[in-house]
C-alpha cells in the first residue's frame, strides 16, 4: 500500500477552511507528545499554552493586546504573500516604525496636546515603510532577492535600536539602563479604551481588517496582487506592472509593521528599550499563513497565536517549560498548515502495492 496524490479539478473549499483548524488541533496533540518525550508535563504544557488564556478571563486583555500587533503586521504580509513578495523582515520594519515615532516624541517633550499622537503614528507608518523601501528598490531595480534583504535589515534595525537607546536617546534619569526617556502623558495611548478591556490596537486592527477585506476581494489593486502572485506572465498580459506591485506590497506591509511598532510603543511600553523587539514580525508570518492570507482568517489566526504567546508565559511559570516553548508550537503550526495545503489541491488515495 502506498499513498497517492490525485490532483483535484477544483481546489477544495472544505479543505481550505478545515486544514487550518486541523493544523491547530494536530499542533496541540503533537506538542503534548513532544513535551512529554522531552521530560516535561506534556498535557499540562498544552493546557497552559492553549486553554488557560481562553478560560481565565483576566488573561483576555493580555491576549487582545498581543493579538493587535500580530494582526496588523500579518494583514500587510498577507497582501505581499499573495503577490509572492516575501517580506520576512517585518520585525525590522516594526522596530523602524517605533523608532520613527519615538523620534517625534523625542523632539517634542514639551507638547502637551494629545494630538501629538497623530504625527507619531504617521511617523511610525512612514518609518516602517521607509525601512521597506530598501528591499523594494533593490528588488525592482537590481532584481535582488527580497527574502535575504528584508531579513538582513532586521539585524541592522536591531543594532540601530541598540545604538539609540544606549547612546543619543538614552534616558538621562534611567540609572544607565538601555532605554529611552518615558513618553510624556500627551504622547501615550491608553492601554485600553472606554473602560473596556479592549486595547486601542485591536480596534485599529479590526478596522484595518475590514479595509483589507474590501481591498483584496473587490478592488482592482487586490486583483492585480493576486494575478502577479499566481502568474507573472499573465499579470503582464493583463497590463499590470509587477514592479509597481512589489513596491506597493512592500511599502504597505512595511507601513503596517511600522504602525504596529509605534502602537506597541505608545500604548503598551511607554518608552523604547532593548527588550522592545518581541518577535511579532516573525510570528506574523505564521499568522498570515494560518489565516490563509485572508483578512478575516488573519484576524482569527492572530488571536490564536496571541493565545500561544500568553500561554507560553503562563506555562513558563506554572509547569516550568522554557520560554522557547511557545515558539516550538508556533513552528509546528506553520509546518502543519503548509503540509495541509496539499489537501486543498490534491486528494489522497491509498492504492495497492503496485508501482
Amino acid at each position: 500500500m502506498r499513498i497517492k496524490f490525485e490532483k483535484r479539478a477544483q481546489p477544495s473549499r472544505f479543505m481550505l477552511f478545515a486544514t487550518p483548524v486541523a493544523a491547530v488541533i494536530l499542533t496541540i496533540l503533537i506538542g503534548a507528545v513532544l513535551f512529554e518525550i522531552l521530560g516535561y508535563d506534556g498535557l499540562g504544557t498544552v493546557k497552559e499554552i492553549f486553554f488557560t488564556p481562553i478560560l481565565a478571563s483576566y488573561k483576555w486583555q493580555d491576549v487582545m493586546t498581543k493579538a493587535a500587533p500580530l494582526i496588523i503586521i500579518a494583514l500587510g504580509l498577507s497582501l505581499g504573500n499573495q503577490a509572492k513578495v516575501w517580506n520576512i523582515g517585518a520585525e525590522g520594519q516594526y522596530i523602524a516604525g517605533a523608532l520613527a515615532g519615538a523620534l517625534i516624541a523625542y523632539l517634542t517633550p514639551g507638547v502637551t496636546s494629545h494630538w501629538i499622537i497623530v504625527p507619531m503614528i504617521i511617523a511610525g507608518i512612514l518609518g516602517g515603510a521607509a525601512w521597506a523601501t530598501i528591499p523594494a528598490f533593490l528588488k525592482t531595480k537590481l532584481n535582488v532577492n527580497e527574502v535575504l534583504t528584508t531579513l538582513m535589515l532586521v539585524y541592522v534595525a536591531f543594532q540601530l535600536l541598540g545604538y539609540l537607546v544606549t547612546g543619543p536617546w538614552k534616558d538621562p534619569n534611567g540609572h544607565n539602563f538601555p532605554q529611552t526617556a518615558p513618553f510624556t502623558d500627551a504622547q501615550l495611548l491608553p492601554h485600553s479604551i472606554l473602560g473596556t478591556a479592549i486595547p486601542p490596537g485591536l480596534v485599529i486592527a479590526f478596522i484595518l481588517m475590514l479595509g483589507f477585506w474590501l481591498l483584496v476581494s473587490r478592488s482592482v489593486f487586490g486583483f492585480e496582487v493576486r494575478v502577479v502572485g499566481a502568474a507573472p506572465s499573465a499579470a503582464r498580459y493583463a497590463g499590470f506592472n509587477a514592479s509597481r506591485t512589489i513596491w506597493s506590497t512592500l511599502l504597505i506591509s512595511g507601513g503596517m509593521a511600522g504602525l504596529a511598532g509605534i502602537l506597541e510603543a505608545t500604548s503598551q511600553l511607554g518608552q523604547l528599550n532593548l527588550g522592545f523587539p518581541s518577535n511579532y514580525g516573525f510570528t506574523a508570518i505564521i499568522v498570515s499563513f494560518l489565516g490563509r492570507l485572508h483578512p478575516v482568517g488573519v484576524f482569527i489566526a492572530g488571536i490564536v497565536l496571541a493565545i500561544t504567546y500568553v500561554g507560553g508565559q503562563v506555562a513558563q511559570t506554572t509547569v516550568h517549560v522554557p520560554s522557547a516553548s511557545g515558539g516550538i508550537f508556533q513552528a509546528l503550526m506553520l509546518f502543519l498548515i503548509l503540509a495541509g495545503d496539499v489537501l486543498v489541491r490534491y486528494r489522497l488515495r491509498l492504492v495497492g502495492a503496485k508501482s
Binding site: L138, V144, V147, Q159, I285, I328, A331, V342
Partner: protein
C-alpha cells in the same frame, strides 16, 4: 601594524569564516539540485546544541560533530518531506524550519546553559600549532581543515563526477531529468540531507570551537549570511571560499572595533556591518554580468511529476 597583529588577524578571520563556509557549501549543493532551503539558521542551531550536548556527555568532540551533522540532516528532512513529497512552498517551509530550529535548540539547551565542554586538540604538534608564526597555517581547529577539504570535495563532485552532473541536471531542468529517468525527488532528498548535515556541523563550530559553551541563538544570524554567500559566489564552490573569508574580515573588524581603536563609530555599527555588506554584495552581484553566475534554472520551483 606588526607581523604578530597580521597573523592574529588572519587566524581570527579563518576561524570565524569556517562555519559560514560549511553552511554555505551545504546550501550550494541543495540549491544546485534546485531547492531553496531558507532554514539554514535553524539547522545550525540544532547542530550547535546537539554537538554541544553529545560532547558534554561523551567528552568526545568528534562524536559531537558527527551527532551535530546527523541532527542537522534529521531536521532538514522535515523540510524535505513538506517541500518534496507534499509540494509545499519552499520559502515559507524554509522559514518554518528556521523558526522550529531556533525554538527547538533553545528548548533542548536550557539544561546546558553555563556548562563547558572539552575542545578539539590540535592535529599538529605544538611546535607548529603554537609557533607565533606557523600557527597561521597549523594553528587551527581540525574543523577548519575539514571544512576546506569539504569545499574542494564538493567543487570536484559537482564539476567532475557523473553524480554531480546528474545533480546539476536535476536543478537545471527537473522535468527533463524526470523524463530521462532520474529520480528528481530522491536526488533532492539526498541534497537536502547533505545541506542539513553541513549546517549542523557549521552550528556545532559555534558551540564547540568558537566558544566551548551553549548560548541561546548563538549563531546570531550567520545562517542567513551563508545564504547570501551562495548568491555572492555565483553558485560556484571555489568562490565560496573567497566570499567566506571576505565576510570573515568584516566580522573580525567588529571584534577588533569593540576591543580597540575605532571608538569614532559605535560598536553597533560594526556589528551590523556583515548584514549591510551582505546587502551591498547582493546588489553589486546583480549589477555584474549575469553570465558569470551558475544559478540553477529550477531554483525554488516545486516539482510535481504529472504521472
Amino acid at each position: 601594524m606588526t607581523i604578530d597583529f597580521i597573523i592574529s588577524a588572519i587566524v581570527t578571520v579563518v576561524g570565524i569564516s569556517t562555519p559560514i563556509l560549511l553552511a554555505a557549501t551545504g546550501e550550494l549543493v541543495v540549491e544546485k539540485s534546485g531547492v531553496l532551503n531558507l532554514g539554514v539558521e535553524g539547522m545550525m542551531l540544532v547542530g550547535a546544541i546537539t554537538g554541544f550536548a553529545v560532547t558534554f556527555m561523551t567528552y568526545n568532540p568528534w562524536l559531537g560533530v558527527i551527532a551535530a551533522g546527523a541532527a542537522g540532516a534529521a531536521v532538514s528532512m522535515v523540510f524535505g518531506v513538506l517541500v518534496l513529497s507534499l509540494g509545499s512552498n519552499q520559502v515559507a517551509t524554509g522559514l518554518a524550519l528556521a523558526i522550529l530550529g531556533i525554538g527547538l535548540s533553545t528548548l533542548l539547551g536550557t539544561s546546558f546553559t553555563g556548562m563547558i565542554v572539552p575542545q578539539f586538540s590540535s592535529i599538529f604538534p605544538s611546535v607548529l600549532s603554537q609557533d607565533p608564526f606557523w600557527r597561521v597555517i597549523f594553528g587551527y581547529s581540525p574543523m577548519v581543515y575539514i571544512a576546506l577539504l569539504i569545499v574542494f570535495a564538493v567543487g570536484w563532485f559537482l564539476n567532475r563526477t557523473r553524480a554531480g552532473l546528474v545533480l546539476r541536471a536535476v536543478g537545471e531542468n527537473d522535468q527533463s531529468a524526470h523524463s530521462i529517468g532520474y529520480s528528481v525527488i530522491g536526488i533532492r532528498y539526498i541534497a537536502i540531507a547533505f545541506g542539513g548535515a553541513m549546517a549542523g556541523i557549521a552550528g556545532s563550530y559555534f558551540s564547540m570551537v568558537i566558544t566551548p559553551m551553549w548560548a541561546e541563538r548563538m549563531t546570531a544570524g550567520r545562517g542567513w549570511i551563508a545564504l547570501a554567500l551562495v548568491v555572492f559566489a555565483g553558485w560556484k564552490a571555489g568562490r565560496l571560499v573567497v566570499g567566506a573569508y571576505l565576510f570573515g574580515c568584516l566580522m573580525t573588524l567588529e571584534l577588533y572595533a569593540k576591543a580597540s581603536g575605532f571608538q569614532f563609530l559605535p560598536s553597533q555599527f560594526w556589528a551590523s556591518m556583515p548584514y549591510i555588506m551582505a546587502i551591498v554584495v547582493l546588489a553589486v552581484i546583480s549589477f555584474r554580468d549575469r553570465a558569470g553566475s551558475e544559478a540553477p534554472a529550477c531554483l525554488g520551483k516545486p516539482f510535481l511529476p504529472n504521472s
